[in-house]
């Protein structure tokens, strides 16, 4: 089973993108950083007790599924959209959604466009190898307008083409649009159109057929979400876990009560370690892609359900 393999190996093999701003990128020291990367680290901390015991395997849009299917990686945390066919036909198991995204459009302000429906005849830059192409084709067909797709392999090229004016519109997931726009010299010259033409629930996934491992990853991630819901942060977690508090759910989460860890085949303090790796979901979000970062994404749909968002961790019991 994957869990035993990972424990025996001592490291977690985690598939990430070869580079997507805010979600996964190596820094100057070669240490991978980002929102997707944090999920991997949390799982590694929960399973192995060490958030740094992760082998990051850069994958491209083309190679990611094969890498997972062949066992080269244990988890794929590479902004991958959860779709029916991927889940059922390609035989993977999505363990949750760590970012609710949707495909959007960015255009230069100078074009004077205010809605995607006005884009008849426009040239659209898209990043290939994702669901984007399919969404785009559907959107324009449904609205019965023409467009000229310019498929581009990497975000950097797409960005360069868009800035040079080789396409009128750049479309990708809204989070990508925001981070791309943030890197422009004059971000305010570009607008992100209001239409979100697709649902893009991005989440980590594992292979079909190893539900134990799926549970480990799912609940490690849920722990991060729950931690935010209950106000557990990396700052106060030591204190909270030192003694059992009066919130039984919190106690179960932090291992002070019940045997959740053992049920998963992990240490009792697995969730604590997962949270301590990078903090809770909210902390990770703020650090990697939140409003204080150059990427500047707002929580939006990714707020806790208690705050009108979609993040909703099932109960720990």
């Amino acid at each position: 089973a994957t869990l035993d393999d990972v424990k025996a190996r001592g490291t977690l093999n985690c598939g990430v993108s070869t580079g997507l701003t805010g979600f996964s990128a190596p820094d100057a020291n070669g240490v991978w950083q980002g929102f997707d990367v944090a999920v991997c680290r949390a799982v590694a901390a929960a399973v192995l007790g060490d958030p740094m015991a992760v082998n990051f395997v850069p994958t491209t849009g083309q190679t990611r599924f094969t890498a997972l299917a062949s066992g080269e990686i244990d988890i794929l945390a590479r902004n991958t959209t959860w779709t029916f066919s991927r889940d059922v036909d390609l035989k993977f198991e999505f363990v949750g959604v760590n970012y609710y995204d949707g495909q959007g459009f960015m255009v230069p302000k100078a074009l004077g466009v205010s809605s995607a429906k006005e884009l008849d005849g426009a040239t659209v830059c898209i990043q290939t190898g994702t669901t984007t192409e399919l969404n785009l084709a559907d959107f324009f067909r449904v609205n019965n307008i023409n467009y000229e797709p310019v498929p581009i392999e990497t975000n950097a090229e797409a960005q360069q083409q868009y800035l040079a004016g080789a396409c009128d519109v750049y479309t990708t997931d809204a989070s990508g649009l925001a981070s791309t726009r943030a890197s422009f010299e004059a971000p305010t010259d570009h607008v992100i159109l209001p239409e979100i033409i697709s649902k893009e629930p991005l989440g980590p996934l594992v292979r079909h057929g190893d539900s134990e491992w799926g549970d480990v990853v799912r609940w490690s991630f849920n722990a991060l979400v729950a931690a935010e819901e209950y106000g557990v942060t990396s700052a106060n977690i030591e204190e909270l876990s030192a003694s059992a508090g009066d919130n039984p759910e919190l106690n179960r989460l932090l291992g002070a009560e019940g045997e959740l860890g053992a049920m998963l085949g992990l240490e009792p303090d697995w969730a604590k370690k997962a949270i301590m790796a990078n903090g809770n979901y909210g902390e990770i979000f703020e650090k990697t892609i939140g409003e204080k970062t150059p990427i500047g994404l707002s929580r939006g749909l990714n707020a806790q359900w208690t705050e009108g968002g979609l993040l909703y961790s099932p109960p720990f019991r």
């Binding site: 849009g61 008849d120 005849g121 192409e133 310019v150 498929p151 004016g165 080789a166």
Partner: protein, 410 residues
């Protein structure tokens, strides 16, 4: 042959399998055959097990399912509701298109650069050396990416053609060079013979082919005349007339008119759109391969010794005639075989189209289709087969040429 080499009746010994030259080769081949079969069956068995474990089967049915994605560059009708199979065909045609265009331009560039590199103009020959070495020694992938980016940054966006005082304007009112590609006028027919546009063009093509044939006859006639009288009659105006008139008449009959591209909305509309990705890939492939061809051409010309042109000059032949009758025919024998293998390389390298989003066979069949359907094995197999057949056809043509030249030499 009357006697046997070995006395008969000695009987067959097992050791003869190894030590007898007559059986030895058979033994080796049988052993090799068995090993080969073992290897192949091992691979096949593994594949079957693995496919089974993954719950996949080996099935080309996906080719008949709708693809769901759009392709901008297409030579045949296609939309997102067409099948994966059709998408593959679109990709294959795109590969062939860029390969043919690339081979043509690379040859031109290579010949020009190769000849100029031999020029006695120091500046020009140095410049060509820089071109050749620069392109040969940097990976093609980098060149494709760089040229694509360079093109989109150095040419105006369509929006620059807009407004009262546009910063860019169309050439001759019919050609627009933009960073999305080049728009050129298209020819349409007002009173076509057939509804299907393809047939109209087929007629034009047939007429043109007939003209070309007539021109060939004309030049044969001129050659015969030259043989008889020594003077070659001037035929260029006849040639021109034969080439242009029939097609022109056809055009007039069908009411041909130019469809000029014009700026409408976001883009130019009408005319023919040569996309930036095609042009970038085409240019990069041609420039890169052209650098190799330049070296081949230079080598070929140098291989024809200086004595040959001197002898021709001494006979009173002009430099142009010398080039045509003496140097080129000899140089071509040296040039053509490596030239064709460069064509092969160019064709294979066109699979780097992925870098600029040109939808060739690799990007459609071997890219998005595989990605959407998860049929790696089938997709890659088809793709490999396509390239293999293409290469075999090209190298087959080369072999035919080589033998024909060899026959002519002696």
């Amino acid at each position: 042959m009357t006697t046997m080499t070995d006395p008969p009746g000695q009987g067959f010994r097992l050791s003869q399998l190894i030590y007898d030259t007559r059986y030895r080769s058979l033994t080796i081949q049988v052993v090799a055959m068995i090993l080969l079969m073992l290897l192949v069956s091992w691979l096949v068995a593994n594949t079957v097990t693995n496919l089974h474990a993954l719950g996949k089967d080996f099935d080309f049915g996906f080719l008949t399912q709708p693809s769901g994605y759009d392709i901008n560059q297409r030579l045949i009708a296609y939309d997102s509701q067409s099948t994966h199979g059709r998408a593959a065909v679109v990709g294959i045609l795109n590969t062939l298109l860029v390969a043919v265009l690339g081979c043509a331009l690379a040859t031109v560039l290579g010949v020009v650069a190769g000849v100029l590199r031999l020029s006695n103009n120091w500046l020009v020959s140095r410049l060509m050396a820089v071109y050749v070495e620069g392109f040969r020694n940097v990976p093609l992938l980098l060149w494709i990416v760089l040229i694509f980016a360079l093109m989109s940054e150095s040419t105006p966006a369509p929006s620059a053609f807009r407004g009262d005082t546009p910063s860019a304007s169309m050439l001759l009112d019919g050609v627009a060079v933009t960073n999305r590609g080049i728009y050129i006028p298209a020819i349409h027919f007002g009173a076509p013979f057939f509804d299907n546009g393809l047939y109209n063009w087929l007629i034009v093509l047939i007429a043109f082919a007939a003209s070309v044939f007539a021109v060939k006859r004309l030049s044969r006639w001129a050659a015969v005349k030259q043989e008889a009288t020594g003077d070659r009659p001037t035929t260029w105006y006849l040639t021109l007339g034969i080439l242009v008139l029939p097609v022109a008449i056809l055009f007039a009959l069908m009411g041909a008119f130019l469809d000029l591209p014009s700026l409408q909305g976001f883009n130019f509309q009408g005319g023919i759109h040569l996309r930036g990705s095609l042009i970038a890939l085409w240019l990069a492939l041609s420039l890169y391969t052209g650098a190799f061809i330049a070296e081949i051409v230079r080598g070929g010309i140098l291989a024809v010794s200086k004595g040959q042109s001197e002898a021709a000059f001494a006979l009173g032949l002009r430099p142009g005639t010398t080039m045509k009758l003496v140097v080129l025919p000899q140089a071509l024998r040296v040039i053509i075989p490596p030239l064709i293998s460069q064509f092969l390389n160019l064709t294979k390298n066109s699979s780097l189209a992925i870098a600029v989003g040109y939808m060739d066979a690799r990007s459609t069949l071997g890219g998005i289709t595989i990605n959407q359907t998860g049929r790696e094995l089938e997709g890659m197999l088809l793709l490999g087969l396509f390239y293999l057949v293409l290469s075999l056809v090209i190298s087959g043509a080369m072999n035919v040429y080589n033998t024909s030249v060899k026959l002519k030499e002696r």
